[in-house]
């Protein structure tokens, strides 16, 4: 049987094309259509008639154009050279394309996803005679100053003994670095189908947070390593800024950032900024651990659909090396809309708001690829997924938000009115939740044995303020007793001095867990002292006159991560100030 199938185009409706004579082609096989050999994928097979979605602009495609399939599934190429790269939805390297294809993305231009010529220094870690199987690490190359890229036996390889393994040598990704006694030749790069999750040994339960440096997230609504989070919000509420902040500051080893149907300039922003941002731990540029997938809103919609699978497959590959990977997908709604658009062209029966009935299944499959797992090498690796959701009109009752909620465990609800008041990140402390608090409590106990109680009390204040605010709206604040006005005061302080965190503030854009916990304790110490003083009969106005409030509100930007002892000292300062005040009011 020949390895090439050739059919012809008989129907074109936008990016959905039908071809006949495709009897021996397989479902999800990649095809090349027409003179320009545009890339497509078979998404439906009905006897010899294949329905194909085309991943490039297919204007001027004609009836009768040839369709060629090599009977291989749509795949990504995995190997050294991925990091610092920027790809479109089907892993075409955009930097390379800008060199060969010019400024605009013209249909038909092609380039290898990773360089086939570049030599990497392969260092073996297995030796001749070792028994290896799918996933075993046999060597590595130091791909960037931040990431050691392990070379593993590809997942679909049969186990065997190493007959030959290369010494420490410069090799291209196409050269053989090992041979097994079963005949398998191992190269540094291999293809893997984008739609097929990569195998692992077992799932583990999560126990540690992914630290993001964002106080409202880490302290109040944390995501676990290997967890899933959704960040829904209307336009301009801060989805992208939050995703960027997470890509910059979260303590993952690898970041896969998927710009799915969003703005071109936002990808440019990352490309410009990340090489200059220095990782607080390693002091290396953050770009060295980052991979970008950019299928912007004006790029072909079918490639947008596949972009999140391309991203998650690359993430799994690094997870299998034993790394903690974090994926940001901005925005999963645009992906869902791509599904809807393609489904419409397939004339499938729509469910809610025109979305196909399989939307929830697809969402579940995607988020299911997150997790903390045991790798083939008995190491731990994880993928955390953070998906932005863009609900029409900012209304969370729409299908994508609602279905996403079923499959994620951390919900960072962005609030339009907070964003309008320029309270950023505009993550609502009332509508958001995290189901990971329990799983990761040991971590926070390790930072500070008290902090979880302090946090709970702070949250109580924020909730009480919400109820008091309703009363204030009716009768004004003056009619409240001082004890309740203290709640308003402290809630305001928590908002301004803790929850708000500007991404543009050099000092405040990233907060270590230590700073996060001390800053909260400063504010709560102020609260406790105030409460005690009020009980002794001091009027609230006297507490305001201490001048502490304005100072505390600015501590987040005056005290850097390296000087947290200043916060400890501040707690003493609060105590002193109140002691002084109490002298006047003691009986």
């Amino acid at each position: 049987m020949s390895d090439v199938v050739k059919g012809i185009v008989v129907d074109i409706d936008g990016p959905i094309v039908k071809a006949i004579n495709m009897n021996t082609a397989g479902m999800l096989d990649v095809v090349y259509v027409g003179e320009k050999s545009l890339v497509g994928e078979i998404i439906k097979l009905d006897r010899g008639k294949a329905t194909i979605q085309i991943y490039e602009e297919n204007s001027m495609m004609g009836i009768g154009d040839e369709v060629v399939s090599h009977k291989r599934p749509l795949s990504v190429l995995l190997g050294p050279g991925l990091l610092e790269g920027i790809y479109d939805g089907i892993q075409r390297p955009l930097m390379e394309l800008s060199r060969t294809g010019g400024n605009f993305l013209l249909p038909g231009v092609k380039a290898d996803p990773i360089s086939f010529d570049k030599k990497w220094k392969f260092v073996p870690i297995a030796k001749k005679g070792d028994l290896v199987s799918a996933g075993t690490k046999i060597g590595y190359v130091d791909e960037t100053a931040l990431v050691r890229h392990f070379i593993m036996i590809p997942p679909d390889t049969k186990s065997g003994k190493i007959d030959y393994i290369s010494g420490e040598e410069d090799k291209t990704v196409l050269e053989t670095v090992a041979k097994l006694d079963n005949g398998a030749e191992i190269k540094m790069a291999h293809y893997w189908s984008v739609r097929k999750p990569r195998p692992y040994k077992e799932r583990l339960s999560m126990n540690r947070p992914l630290i993001t440096g964002q106080r409202v997230i880490d302290m109040f609504f944390p995501i676990a390593r290997g967890g899933t989070a959704a960040i829904p919000g209307g336009f301009g509420t801060g989805k992208t800024m939050t995703q960027h902040a997470l890509a910059k500051w979260s303590d993952a080893d690898i970041i896969v950032y998927i710009g799915c149907g969003e703005r071109g300039n936002e990808m440019t922003d990352v490309l410009n900024e990340f090489p200059h941002l220095i990782d607080p731990k390693s002091k290396q540029p953050l770009m060295k651990r980052t991979i970008l997938i950019a299928n912007t809103s004006n790029m072909p919609v079918a490639a947008r659909e596949v972009s999140i699978y391309t991203g998650v497959t690359i993430a799994e590959y690094f997870r299998d090396m034993g790394y903690n990977v974090a994926i940001m997908a901005d925005s999963t709604s645009r992906w869902a809309e791509a599904l809807r658009e393609l489904s419409g062209r397939l004339e499938e029966m729509p469910a809610e708001e025109g979305f196909p009935a399989y939307l929830p299944t697809r969402l579940a499959e995607f988020y299911e690829r997150a997790g903390l797992i045991r790798t083939a090498n008995d190491e731990e690796g994880s993928i955390s997924i953070i998906g932005a959701v863009s609900p029409p009109g900012g209304d969370f009752s729409e299908p994508v938000t609602q279905h996403t909620k079923r499959f994620i465990r951390c919900f960072w609800a962005l609030d339009k009115s907070l964003a309008n008041a320029r309270h950023y990140p505009s993550i609502s402390w009332l509508d958001s939740y995290s189901e990971y608090n329990d799983e990761i409590k040991e971590y926070w106990n390790g930072v500070d044995a008290d902090i979880l109680n302090v946090r709970a009390e702070a949250m109580t204040i924020l909730k009480r303020e919400e109820r008091l605010a309703q009363i204030v709206k009716l009768v004004g604040p003056d009619s409240l007793p001082d004890s309740q006005r203290l709640i308003l005061l402290v809630a305001d302080l928590l908002k301004k001095g803790y929850l708000q965190q500007s991404a543009f503030d050099e000092v405040d854009m990233y907060s270590t867990p230590k700073k996060q916990s001390l800053l909260l304790k400063v504010i709560m110490n102020f609260y406790w002292s105030s409460e005690n003083t009020l009980k002794l009969g001091t009027p609230l106005i006297k507490i305001r006159e201490l001048g502490l409030v304005d100072e505390i509100a600015k501590l987040k930007s005056t005290v850097s991560n390296d000087n947290t002892e200043e916060l400890e000292n501040y707690i003493f300062k609060i105590k002193d100030k109140f002691d002084e005040l109490m002298k006047f009011y003691k009986v």
Binding site: V10, D11, I12, D13, G14, E57, N58, S59, M60, M61, G62, I63, G64, I86, L94, L97, S98, N103, F104, L105, G234, F235, G236, G259, G261, R263, G264, N265, M267, T268, T296, S297, N298, P300, V301, E337, R340, E341, G344, E353, G354, S390, P392, G393, G394, N420, A421, R422, V472, K473, L474, V475, G476, D478, K496, S502, F504, V549, A553, K554
Partner: protein
């Protein structure tokens, strides 16, 4: 060019024709549709299979008959001619002369659909454009290469504002003028005339290209108008190195034409009858703003849209806001208070201002000041709501100071004349004048060193 003609029309429905496939047809190619008197109009292939072809006509199908209509397949995508001679000219939505002069002389035809800019090759926009309008320069700064729409409503002065921006826009330290490309979709002639007069008055008309598909032109023509305009803009920006300001009005009319075509084709709608691909379609226009590495020119877009019922959650403003780099929202309440420009402070946003303002670009205190103004104005809104319930007398002193601040903000900072052109320094100084009226402890978003410098040393 191979031209193939086809008879065999099967069905006419609104702007859509269905015909038998008896020629070599390509997806998206341009067709010429002839009526029995051999009058012709332009269309394009929407879909094709072995038996039939679906064609969309950019004109009026009402005179066509099944029997006598013939269709010529041109074998090329929709193009318009481009050249330096476009400047000073007026075209219709299809790129044909609309000013009585002959078509420009050029061999250069460009596909109106453009192609997606490789995200890698984009240059991040950072050059501050001074519009001379305080609320824009101070709070929602326009950046060269940005797409910043005006969300308006019926009867609100969006045209006046857009014209003022076009007249006054300058870069701070450069002398280069903007070239203006204007796309009018479904607007009345008065609107086009208003802009023409404005450009004439400021002596830039010879630097303007207009594409007009007025209210009386077939609605489908509007689908091509912004594409023609943006194709011209790309040529001027990237071939000739000009800085182009594209004004597109009214995007709502454009979206309605898109809905009309989609409905006629029986496509499954998403919200309010608009097709599910409205987002992608709008993105294919808005994303054509920007800058390219190693290219001198730029495309700045100011799309104008009227929000049906002043509803910002309507799909047109909603999807636009999801694509553009911010929005300038006009508010009826301010308009009724005689505030011009009636820009609603809080929902307005410029996403690109973060990299275009501050020391060396506008002024060191700009970021803090704008952030503080937003916070204070948000507080004003809260206090106004409270005052309307408990009465102003019941408010605290501080709250009353905020109310005064709010009035000053609207009457002194927001309000300015149609011809008034304020420098960014004047705008920021004005902001400090207002902030001065509040206790210093309220200025929690401003770095102490700026408070020191601008409140104590200067003031």
């Amino acid at each position: 060019m191979i031209k193939i003609e086809s008879l065999g029309l099967k069905k006419i429905e609104g702007p859509i024709l269905m015909l038998e496939k008896n020629a070599d047809v390509k997806y998206d190619e341009v067709v010429r549709v002839f009526d029995e008197k051999r009058n012709s109009q332009i269309g394009k292939v929407l879909s094709v299979n072995e038996k039939s072809v679906v064609v969309q006509v950019f004109g009026n199908t009402s005179g066509l008959t099944i029997k006598d209509t013939s269709v010529e397949f041109l074998g090329i995508p929709m193009t318009i001619p481009v050249g330096r001679d476009m400047l000073g000219r007026v075209f219709n939505g299809l790129g044909e002369p609309f000013d009585g002069l002959p078509q420009i002389f050029t061999g250069d035809y460009r596909d109106v659909n453009g192609a997606a800019l490789n995200p890698y090759i984009r240059e991040y926009p950072r050059d501050f454009i001074q519009t001379g309008i305080s609320v824009i320069d101070g709070l929602t700064t326009l950046i060269r290469g940005q797409k910043l729409p005006i969300f308006s409503g019926n009867g609100l002065p969006h045209n006046v504002l857009a014209a003022q921006i076009a007249r006054q826009a300058t870069l701070k330290n450069a002398t280069e003028e903007f070239t203006v490309v204007f796309a009018g979709m479904g607007v009345k002639y008065d609107v086009a005339k208003y802009f023409i007069d404005n450009f004439e008055r400021s002596g830039v008309l010879s630097n303007v290209v207009m594409y007009l598909s007025l209210a009386d032109a077939p609605s489908v023509e509007r689908l091509l108008t912004p594409r023609a305009a943006l194709t011209a803009a790309e040529y001027l920006a990237y071939d000739l190195g000009m800085h182009v300001l594209v004004i597109m009005t009214d995007m709502t009319n454009y979206c309605e034409a898109l809905r009309e075509v989609s409905t006629t084709r029986g496509q499954i709608p998403s919200r309010k009858g608009y097709p599910g691909y409205l987002y992608s379609d709008l993105a294919s226009l808005y994303e054509r703003a920007g800058r390219i590495k190693n290219k001198k020119g730029s495309i700045t877009q100011i799309p104008i849209l009227s929000m049906p019922n002043d509803d910002i959650t309507h799909p047109i403003p909603d999807l636009t806001g999801y694509i553009t780099e911010g929005q300038i929202v006009l508010e009826r309440e301010l308009f009724q208070k005689n505030v011009y420009p009636p820009v609603a402070g809080l929902p307005s946003l410029s996403r690109l201002m973060k990299d275009g303002i501050g020391e060396g670009m506008t002024r060191e205190d700009h970021k803090d000041v704008s952030s503080q103004l937003f916070a204070c104005y948000a507080k004003v809104k809260e206090i106004r709501a409270l005052a309307s319930v408990i009465g102003e007398e019941e408010l605290s002193d501080l709250d009353r100071k905020y109310l005064d601040f709010g009035n000053d903000f609207e009457n002194k900072f927001l309000s300015q004349g149609y011809e008034e052109n304020r420098t960014i320094e004047a705008t920021l100084d004005l902001a400090w004048e207002l902030l001065k009226t509040l206790p210093e402890s309220e200025l929690y978003r401003i770095n102490n060193k700026y408070i020191q410098k601008y409140l104590h040393e200067k003031g």
